[in-house]
Every structure is written in structure tokens, then in C-alpha cells.
């Protein structure tokens, strides 16, 4: 909103702010370090290589699903089916492992792709509001998964395929999480892709002004379709990484990721109205949320107070972010 202006500001502050406005992720990094510091204070000696490794390992699923969510939200949409998709992919992988890892993994990824395709068709071709469309598919997936679990389970011992286990929980040289590499790869592709590829540019464009896109000869529906497919696929991958890390699947494994997947994105500075933002922020957002939950596990306080504090801290950090970047939401 451009209505009321912000009043007097000193030149140096303005310059500093200009610098931050161009690199808002710096602020998020600062926030992240702040939280790590907090842990160091609450329990000295916690912070160390292995802690970092574990944190990344548990942030990876969120980070990966947040990548898909970011793309979708940049197009002014939202995908509420990501959590159900993660669960489905995880459960399918575990229940199919009996028939071989390859089949298990491929089927799991297929689940993601199909869900993404359905969402994409609904939103891009039939113009269903993304929220409703993905809410609906979310229900369909969980329902379908229940049916699946009743019919397909018990065919063989459910077990997380070794490869999935390795990707999700394995560590190179006993320290560097394998999932970190996968996440890094995805992050690079998404970040570079958004900046440097035509498709990436079009995601922003479609989210900003569909009419302008049409006018410029962009077929927005195609962009949307692809975006939702990618989001579905990434959800599937995230589900696999998650089940790898947890080493067991149930019918609600991924559900806890629905809100965080959105929270990570918006905390990362992507607008829910589309056209503005990026994945670097969401990535840091995912890390921040993960570290924050660690803080609250280690913090000894009554649960209600913890919840209140959690909310308060999120607001404060976001406010700090807005102040320093001078970017009015």
C-alpha cells in the first residue's frame, strides 16, 4: 500500500536499508543466527557440527515442500494438498518397498505428479480457486490413501526402502546429511530457475498480472499447470525424504507440514497475493521454523506459555524483518 508515507529518516539508515531491501535474506539469516544463539544460551554446548547436521536433516522435508509452495504462491495461488501428498507418497513408498525400492520410489513420485497434474488442470484450465481446488484434492488423497492402506497393506512387511532411508537419514562421513545435498540441489534449481529461466520469469508475471501476460502473448494456463505439477512432485519428494528420516509411515505422517509449508513461505517474504518473493526466503523460513521448534523443545516452560511465546516471537521477528527491509507487506 502506498497511501500514508513513512516520515523522516536519516540518510545513512536509508542507505543501509536500501542495501537490506535489495538483500532481504540477510535479515532472515540474522534472525536465524539469533535463534541459534538462543539455543546456545538455553543449553550451552548443544550447538555443534552434529547439531547443525541434524537440524538440516529435519528441516529438509519442510524446505523441499516449501519450494513447491513458494512457486505456487508466487502465482497468487496456494496448495493445501501438499501435506496429504507428502503422507501419500511416504505411505506408498513404505508399503510398496516389499516389491522393490525402485517401484516404491517411482510410485511415490508418481503420486506427487498425478496430484500436481489434477490440481494444475483444476486451477489452470477450469479456473477453480486454488484454495478450494487443493483443499478438495487434499481430502480426496487422504480418503484414497485410507482405502489404499486397507487393501494394499499387509501384503508384505512395511519398511522404508533403503535408498529412501539413505537419502532421508543417511550421513556422508557420518556427519553431512545426504538430504542436505538433495535439498541444496533443489534449492539451486529453484532459485536459479526463478531468476534465470523464462519459465521462472513467467511465474512472477502470472502472479502479478494475468492480463498483462495475455497481452504479452504468455499462455498463463500453461505456466500455472506446470507450476502445480512441480509443486506436487516436490511434495512427493519431500514425503520420501520425511519417511526416510522418520523410518516409519502412518496415515497422518505429513499432516503436520501443512501450516509450516505456508508459514515458511510467507515468513520468507513471499506475498500471498503473488508476483513478489522468492525461494531463498522460504528456505531460510524453513530453517527458522525448525530451529524455533528446537528452541521450544529445549526451553523448559509450561506448554501454554510456550505457545504464546512462539506466536509472539514469530510476530517480533517478522516485524524486525519488515522494519529493516522497509518493505511494507
Amino acid at each position: 500500500m502506498s497511501a500514508p508515507a513513512t516520515g523522516l529518516r536519516q540518510g545513512r539508515w536509508v542507505a543501509f536499508q536500501g542495501m537490506l531491501r535489495d538483500r532481504p535474506s540477510l535479515v532472515l539469516v540474522g534472525v536465524l543466527l539469533l535463534l541459534v544463539l538462543a539455543i546456545g544460551v538455553i543449553r550451552p554446548g548443544t550447538i555443534g557440527p552434529s547439531w547443525v547436521a541434524n537440524t538440516i536433516l529435519f528441516a529438509a522435508p519442510l524446505g523441499i515442500v516449501a519450494a513447491g509452495q513458494t512457486l505456487v504462491m508466487l502465482t497468487a495461488g496456494i496448495d493445501l494438498s501438499v501435506a496429504a501428498t507428502m503422507t501419500a507418497a511416504a505411505y506408498v513408498a513404505a508399503s510398496q518397498s516389499y516389491f522393490g525400492s525402485a517401484r516404491a520410489v517411482l510410485l511415490a513420485l508418481a503420486v506427487g505428479l498425478v496430484v500436481g497434474l489434477v490440481n494444475g488442470l483444476g486451477v489452470a484450465v477450469f479456473r477453480v480457486q486454488p484454495l478450494i481446488m487443493t483443499l478438495g484434492t487434499g481430502l480426496v488423497i487422504s480418503g484414497g490413501l485410507l482405502v489404499y492402506s486397507l487393501n494394499v497393506s499387509h501384503q508384505g512387511p512395511p519398511a522404508v526402502p533403503d535408498i529412501v532411508r539413505y537419502v532421508g537419514a543417511g550421513k556422508l562421513l557420518g556427519i553431512v546429511p545426504v538430504s542436505a545435498f538433495l535439498w541444496a540441489a533443489i534449492a539451486t534449481i529453484v532459485i536459479v530457475g526463478l531468476r534465470q529461466t523464462g519459465y521462472g520469469r513467467l511465474i512472477f508475471a502470472v502472479g502479478d498480472n494475468p492480463i498483462a501476460c495475455r497481452l504479452a502473448g504468455v499462455r498463463a494456463w500453461l505456466v500455472l499447470l506446470v507450476t502445480y505439477v512441480i509443486c506436487g512432485f516436490l511434495s512427493g519428494v519431500a514425503g520420501l525424504v520425511l519417511v526416510g528420516a522418520i523410518n516409519a509411515a502412518d496415515l497422518s505422517l505429513g499432516d503436520v507440514y501443512l501450516l509450516p509449508s505456508v508459514a515458511a513461505v510467507v515468513i520468507g517474504g513471499t506475498s500471498i497475493y503473488g508476483g513478489n518473493g522468492g525461494y531463498a526466503g522460504s528456505l531460510l523460513g524453513a530453517l527458522i521454523l525448525t530451529v524455533l521448534s528446537s528452541v521450544f523443545t529445549l526451553l523448559d516452560a509450561p506448554d501454554p506459555l510456550k505457545q504464546i511465546l512462539y506466536g509472539a516471537i514469530v510476530v517480533l521477528l517478522a516485524a524486525l524483518y519488515v522494519r529493516t527491509t522497509g518493505d511494507d507487506g
Partner: protein, 504 residues
């Protein structure tokens, strides 16, 4: 008249957005009972000054004195109460409310606004329509009527006439004169030198956010003002009006038809046929809503015609999506930049948008090449990209230029321009005419609808005049005097050259 009472006086008004200095030191002094022009190139800071004056944004420094008393408004509403009412450059009616509701918001009574609606010939606008569903000119006029209803002592018009056809601009001017005669004051922002000279008493000129002079329009010539606006160096570049067409390099590199239109019907479009050749700039002249808009809609591929055909380089084309038209080399520059721009994205991304699609580049973009092409375009139109990280922060005129630069960078065969020079300063207009000529010379075809009749002789080889959805006349640039064009545009030229001839 120097001893007239000063109504409004500002000292060193300053406004910066982050690093961008929109207004460095805006000084303006308006007398009671005068029409005061506020002039300056695109991005000079005119609109910012208006916003600061009316409390739409708060200045970082400076003072505003109204009849000697220092004032500071924290909202346009308060400014209105104090007698300052403005019609902003970008329409400021709430889109999802009906016109009536918009009026209610400002507490304007029907009784108060009726006469002004009549005055501006808005009598039969349906007040129950959503603002969103009304065309921009209507909205601007409604905005004006509402401003008038509050009987302000100072009325500020920021490029209102830019969106208006000639005859309606005339209405606005009449109101302005009346205001002056009643001892009230008007501040008028316009890039049309002629209307400024015809209407205004004095002009305050802004350059790069600072007031560089106040001129008495009666006594001073255009060159003086232009050199004030652009700085002496740049001013010399600007040639006097009327020269472009003659000085342009000889066109007709390849006279083969770029686009042929045969018996086109759609919306208000009754039955239109004509041929647009490579190497020519073909002007379209018409009053509002004579079908010209529908013509551009069809040519740009945004709508399928009800009947008739469009031949592009000899082949019949039926466009289902602008994408296909662009593929066939037809690109559109719409008048309303809001429809064409990605507000939150950078100037570069806005200009590169069609390239991305056209080049079908799903791999990595060659950013160096892209930057070069974009830079070439922005330089050619001299776009002020200081606030280029988000197009919405550009000045109105610069935004308009971006919509043209986009196609310069992307390339095309046929350029469809629908009133492209709205709100563009005199110098840039010259540049754009020049660019159009050069494009034609280099073998492109240009179809130019303009609401500024002089542009025809400045930029075009031929002009088609439309009336009632038909082409009623074809004139060569030489015969296309304003008078001739107007007569034809009002459909007075019965039995003039009909479609058949026009097409040949």
C-alpha cells in the same frame, strides 16, 4: 496582476522514496483566480508534488502555506475540507464500489454533483455501475465532477486531459476557465503545449524534482519553456512541431502488404476493410467508441471477430490468443498501462516479458544479451529507471514508455499503437514519432490510433477515419489537417472515400 492575492505557496517541498528522490525542492505559488500550469518532463516530480500538496503522501521536508497560514494535510480528505481538491493521474475511484457508493465515501451529495455531471455530459452515466466496469476517461471525469462538487478554492488536474478525446477536453477547459472567472484557482498538469498555452496564465516548471522557473505564458515562447523543462542542452534536440514527417527518411522499403483486413465485424465494428503496408505508418482517427478499439482487439488476437478475415502477409489468420498474433508479428501497445504492466516487477522484467515467451526459452536466459536489448530500448525512449526495481514506482509517463520499449526490445513486423503517447512529455513524443518513422523505414508496419489529431501529420503517411464502425475516409498525411480529420470523424464527409477505395 503581480499584486494578486497568493492562494497557495510552497517552499522546498521534498519527498524521497527510499533512495529515490521524487521531489527535491518543489516550490509553487498559485494566485487566486488563475489557471496555473505545472510542467516538466516525465518523472520531473509533478504528480509527487500534487500528492504532497493534497496530503496523499507526507513530505520529508518543506512547508505549504494556504493564504499565508501554514498547513499540513494528513489525507486528501482533509485537503478537500480546506479547499484543495485534486484529480490524480491514476484513477482513484474504488473499483469494486459503484459510482454512487464512491460518491458517498467522499460525502458528496447528489444535489451537489448533479450540475457538474450535466456540465461534463456525464448525465446518463449509470451511477449503479461498478467503477471497475467503466472506461478510464469516464472515471477521470467522474473524479473531476466529484472534486468540483466540493467547490474547492484550488482545483488540481493531473493529466486529466491525457485520457480524454478532444471534445471532452474542451469541456474540462470550460470548467477551468469558469473556475478562474469565479476567482478560484486551478493547477493543470499537461504535456500538451497547445492546451497549456491556450488555457493557462502562468506555468511553474519542474526539472529533476526541483522548480527551475515560473514563466508567464502570455509573454514567453514554447522554446523557452521547453528549454526550462529539459535543460538548455537537451532542448536543442527537440525540433519544432510538424517537422518529423518531412525529415523522416524515405520509407517504402518493401511496399508489400503487412496486414489486410477484409469486412471485419466485431462489437461496434460494422464492416471494415483496409490494407496496412510494410514501411508505412497508418493513422486511425475516430471519436470515442467508433469501433477502433474493437479493431485493435481483433488485430491483437485478444478477440475473435464475428465476421471478416485478417490476412497477415497474404495468409488468412484466425487468432485464438494474442500469443498467436504476436507469433504472426502483430504486437499491441495499449493506452491503459495498468493492463500491460507487471506492477511489482522490474523495468527489465517488464520489457523482457514477451521475449521470454517468444524465444521459447525454458533453459537459462542469456542475461547479458537480454540486458543489452533492454538497455537499447530504454535508452532509445530515455526511460527514467531510477525507481526501476518496481515498475509501479515509475512516473506515469515512464510507465507508458515501458509498454512501448517492450516491443522495441522484442521486435515485431506490425506495431499496433492505441494512443501510445498519452501522458508522455513533449520531448519523448517527438522521440516516439521518430521511432515510429524509423521502424517504418526499416520495413515494419505501424497502425497508430491517436486522440491527438496533430500526431497524424507528425507521424503518419496516411490516415483512415472511422465513424460508426466503418472507415469513412482515407486521407494522405498532407491532406490530414485537423479540420479535415474532425469533419470526417463526425461523419460529415458523406459519400467520401468508402471502404472499398480505402482498402486499395
Amino acid at each position: 496582476m503581480t499584486d494578486d492575492a497568493i492562494l497557495l505557496e510552497t517552499r522546498g517541498l521534498k519527498k524521497n522514496y527510499g533512495a529515490v528522490v521524487a521531489l527535491r525542492s518543489g516550490d509553487i505559488s498559485v494566485r487566486a483566480g488563475e489557471i496555473h500550469a505545472l510542467m516538466g518532463a516525465n518523472g520531473a516530480g509533478k504528480s509527487t508534488l500534487v500528492k504532497v500538496l493534497t496530503g496523499d503522501v507526507t513530505p520529508n521536508a518543506g512547508t505549504i502555506r494556504l493564504e499565508g497560514r501554514e498547513v499540513r494535510f494528513n489525507s486528501p480528505a482533509n485537503a478537500r475540507k480546506a479547499g484543495l481538491a485534486s484529480v490524480y493521474q491514476d484513477v482513484s475511484l474504488v473499483p469494486l464500489l459503484t459510482v454512487a457508493q464512491n460518491l458517498r465515501l467522499t460525502g458528496t451529495t447528489m444535489a451537489a454533483i448533479r450540475p457538474w455531471l450535466e456540465e461534463l455530459e456525464l448525465g446518463d452515466v449509470d451511477l449503479a455501475e461498478y467503477a471497475r466496469d467503466l472506461p478510464t476517461p469516464t472515471l477521470h471525469l467522474l473524479d473531476l465532477a466529484q472534486a468540483l462538487a466540493s467547490l474547492p478554492r484550488l482545483l488540481i488536474l493531473d493529466e486529466v486531459t491525457a485520457t480524454l478525446p478532444a471534445d471532452l477536453s474542451e469541456r474540462v477547459f470550460r470548467v477551468a476557465r469558469r473556475w478562474r472567472d469565479e476567482g478560484r484557482s486551478v493547477v493543470l498538469i499537461s504535456h500538451r503545449m497547445t492546451e497549456v498555452k491556450a488555457l493557462c496564465d502562468r506555468a511553474t516548471v519542474l526539472r529533476d524534482g526541483s522548480t527551475v522557473g515560473v514563466v508567464d505564458l502570455a509573454s514567453s515562447g514554447q522554446e523557452e519553456i521547453v528549454s526550462l523543462m529539459l535543460g538548455p542542452a537537451a532542448a536543442s534536440v527537440v525540433v519544432s512541431e510538424g517537422a518529423v514527417a518531412d525529415t523522416a527518411p524515405a520509407p517504402k522499403v518493401d511496399p508489400s502488404p503487412a496486414v489486410e483486413v477484409r469486412g471485419l465485424r466485431s462489437g461496434l465494428l460494422q464492416d471494415v476493410s483496409f490494407t496496412l503496408r510494410r514501411g508505412e505508418v497508418l493513422g486511425i482517427v475516430a471519436l470515442e467508441a467508433q469501433g477502433q478499439a474493437d479493431l485493435f482487439e481483433c488485430l491483437s488476437g485478444n478477440r475473435r471477430p464475428d465476421a471478416g478475415e485478417i490476412l497477415v502477409q497474404g495468409k488468412t489468420r484466425r487468432f485464438r490468443h494474442p500469443h498467436e498474433a504476436i507469433g504472426a508479428g502483430l504486437v499491441l501497445v495499449p493506452a491503459d498501462r495498468a493492463l500491460a504492466l507487471l506492477r511489482q516487477r522490474s523495468v527489465l522484467e517488464n520489457i523482457a516479458l514477451p521475449m521470454v515467451n517468444q524465444l521459447k526459452r525454458w533453459g537459462l536466459i542469456n542475461t547479458r544479451a537480454e540486458r543489452k536489448r533492454v538497455k537499447a530500448a530504454t535508452d532509445r525512449l530515455e526511460i527514467d529507471t531510477r525507481a526501476g526495481s518496481r515498475v509501479m514506482r515509475l512516473s506515469g509517463g515512464n510507465q507508458q514508455k515501458v509498454t512501448i520499449a517492450r516491443w522495441l526490445a522484442t521486435g515485431f513486423v506490425t506495431l499496433l499503437c492505441f494512443d501510445p503517447t498519452r501522458g508522455i512529455d513533449i520531448r519523448t513524443k517527438e522521440q516516439i514519432y521518430r521511432v515510429l518513422r524509423e521502424l517504418a523505414a526499416s520495413g515494419s508496419a505501424v497502425l497508430l490510433f491517436t486522440s491527438e489529431l496533430p500526431e497524424i501529420q507528425l507521424a503518419c503517411d496516411r490516415a483512415l477515419v472511422m465513424f460508426g464502425g466503418r472507415v469513412v475516409a482515407e486521407l494522405t498525411a498532407h491532406d490530414a489537417t485537423e479540420a479535415a480529420l474532425l469533419r470526417a470523424a463526425h461523419g460529415l464527409e458523406r459519400g467520401g472515400t468508402g471502404p472499398a477505395e480505402a482498402a486499395s
